[in-house]
């Protein structure tokens, strides 16, 4: 892409002698990275400017050194290095006999400017590779690591570990996992160290939204750098989104439940597993809403809704001395929302309803998320 703006000769001159204002100089800096004609213009200006004698002196000295070293190095030691670097960047030629492409290429390379120099050492390794015959798989001797290597080593399959790693998605590679671990470990350590009983209500307040936030950073153009490629594949859309959601839940549910178990219980407070159904319902609600407004906005809306619904009554609750954290009021508020078969039944119904709606909206994730 060519930028519309270019460095004028006057700007080049003042850039070269250092008199261009800083802001303009930054623009020129950035522009020169991409624009060869302007870079040439600025170089010319620098050669004509006040620095000219110094530049000329450096150039002469450099050339003298290079010439001396050239003579000192035995001729046989030099070309292989050149050849090697050339080979590294070379594309394999389509040189199978009779391929029209190969004939064209040969002609073009030969005729192209500067091709003469390139042709000598470079064509030899290309043909040594097997001259475009299928693929040189054998020389790839480097040790294999990562999921793909697991697949290769497994022989027939992608390998269970590889598949799990790939289903994980961006959430489990990024800051979400770190935040989750910090919250869980922090909560347990704080409660154990201080004996403060209010940690469990706080954790239960956060627990249902944490998996939902994991979903928000798993899919869509804000979260997934490969979103555009991913969407164009048969796995893209709801299927991959559900796979990544499952991965997020697999990690967060045991961690958060375990943390809840390790925290000291408050008398009459909700149990450590009481958040599971609400968590599932909120996650499905975020997915369903996400089919309309995108995963990120949907998660924001659902998480805010939950925190307000549970937190606001606790904050506004009439109490004695206003505490720094109204954990008792929060525990009461959580009991209302979470405890008892009626409340849990409602959450289960909500989860089922959202799942049904999501099934109806399944194709809406097929396209590129634009929101």
């Amino acid at each position: 892409m060519t930028p519309a703006w270019h460095v004028t000769p006057a700007q080049a001159a003042s850039y070269a002698d250092g008199s261009l204002p800083e802001l303009d100089a930054w623009s020129v800096d950035k522009h020169l990275e991409a624009c060869t004609p302007c870079a040439a213009r600025v170089s010319a200006a620098a050669r004509e400017g006040a620095a000219a004698p110094a530049l000329a002196a450096v150039r002469t000295a450099l050339l003298a050194t290079a010439t001396t070293q050239d003579r000192a190095t035995p001729a046989s030691a030099r070309p292989p290095r050149l050849r090697r670097s050339a080979r590294l960047t070379r594309w394999p030629r389509a040189s199978a006999a009779g391929t029209p492409g190969a004939r064209h290429t040969g002609k073009r390379t030969g005729a192209g400017p500067g091709a003469g120099a390139a042709d000598g050492p470079r064509t030899a390794p290309a043909s040594a590779r097997g001259g475009g015959a299928p693929v040189p798989t054998a020389p790839l001797g480097a040790p294999r690591t990562g999921p793909a290597a697991v697949g290769a080593a497994g022989g027939r399959r992608w390998g269970l570990r590889g598949r799990l790693a790939w289903a994980a998605g961006p959430a489990l590679r990024g800051p979400w996992l770190v935040s989750l671990l910090v919250i869980v470990v922090g909560a347990v350590c704080a409660a154990r160290a201080t004996g403060f009983g209010g940690v469990r209500p706080l954790l239960l307040l956060l627990a249902p939204v944490l998996p939902t936030l994991g979903v928000a950073v798993s899919y869509g153009r804000h979260a997934d750098p490969m979103h555009e490629i991913v969407t164009s594949t048969p796995s893209g859309g709801l299927r991959l989104l559900l796979a990544r959601t499952a991965a997020v839940l697999t990690v967060s549910v045991p961690l958060l439940t375990l943390a809840g178990l390790l925290l000291p219980a408050t008398a009459g407070g909700p149990g450590p597993a009481a958040w599971l159904l609400p968590g599932l319902a909120l996650t499905l609600a975020a997915l369903t809403l996400g089919s309309y407004i995108g995963c990120r906005a949907a998660t924001g809306a659902v998480a805010t809704g939950w925190l307000l619904a549970v937190g606001a009554p606790a904050a506004a609750a009439p109490g004695g001395a206003p505490a720094l954290l109204p954990t008792d009021a929060l525990a009461d508020s959580l009991v209302t929302v979470l405890s008892g078969p009626a409340a849990q039944g409602c959450w289960a119904a909500a989860a089922a309803g959202c799942a049904g709606l999501l099934a109806l909206r399944r194709t809406s994730f097929d396209r590129l998320e634009r929101i």
Binding site: H104, G112, L140, R144, A148, R362
Partner: protein, 266 residues
């Protein structure tokens, strides 16, 4: 030749701007160049063909499937390769993992995939870098990794949006050779700014302007148009002159209120 990609009355609007205006196009096996200035609608067309953008109106058929249906889309996506204009990657991915991940997303079987991934990476000349982290590669190499992921499933329809951006001249020559090779068996649609890419690699050129098709023909026919318009001092070679001539005529035609038709000169 059988038509593999066909669109009719294709219209795409983004809010109030019209990116594509009732476009009718058919493509068969071969390399098709999509030329045009910025904002002509090339990327919009490629995205619709890649099944990731929904058209505002019109019919899209790929490999005999209608893209309006979910089942057809999924079937076509298995046989599709797509290089977006811009794409990201996960920070820890090596070239092998990146291309392997896309192979997995394209539902390739694990048994075939490991070798296929190596083959795709070798075809873009990165065999030596296959276990390098993608983030350590230069811009041109990342572009080639993008091409490798697009061709990993040996697609029947290959869509490349600005594939030569960031490639140096020598790499572009190699890339064109790869394009010609791919075009013998697949329908390859390449959007580009660079007229010389079209001249060197494409069997057919489609010139777009303001969301409409301004010209369709062979690169040679476009060059002939340029030769005929030699009096006009534009462009450095016949095909560039042809490009500029067609654009001028198309703009003049659009300004005069005539229906911008498809000029076929084959």
């Amino acid at each position: 030749m059988t038509t593999t990609v066909s669109v009719g009355g294709l219209t795409v609007r983004h809010r109030r701007t019209t990116a594509l205006d009732a476009v009718d196009l058919d493509f068969a096996t071969g390399v098709h160049g999509l030329l045009g200035p910025n904002g002509a609608g090339k990327t919009s067309l490629i995205r619709v063909l890649a099944t990731i953008a929904a058209p505002t109106a019109g019919r899209v058929e790929l490999l005999g499937h209608d893209m309006a249906g979910h089942a057809g889309r999924t079937a076509v996506r298995r046989r599709l390769g797509y290089l977006p204009q811009e794409f990201g990657f996960y920070p820890g991915f090596t070239v092998r993992e990146f291309v392997g991940y896309v192979a997995w997303l394209k539902e390739m079987s694990g048994a075939a995939a490991a070798a296929t991934v190596e083959r795709a990476v070798a075809r873009v000349g990165l065999a030596d870098r296959i276990d390098t982290k993608v983030r350590r590669l230069s811009g041109g190499m990342v572009r080639r990794v993008g091409i490798a992921q697009a061709i990993v499933n040996a697609p029947d329809v290959l869509l490349l949006d600005e594939p030569t951006a960031g490639l140096d001249p020598e790499q572009r020559v190699d890339f064109r050779a790869l394009l010609r090779e791919l075009g013998t068996t697949s329908t390859v649609i390449v959007s580009t700014h660079l007229v010389e890419d079209v001249a060197a690699a494409c069997t057919e050129v489609t010139l777009m302007e303001s969301g409409r098709v301004a010209y369709r023909g062979t690169p040679a026919a476009l060059a002939e148009l340029g030769e005929a318009a030699e009096a006009e001092d534009i462009g450095d070679n016949p095909i560039e002159r042809g490009y500029a001539t067609v654009l001028r005529r198309h703009r003049a035609g659009a300004a005069a209120g005539t229906v911008a038709g498809t000029e076929v000169s084959r």
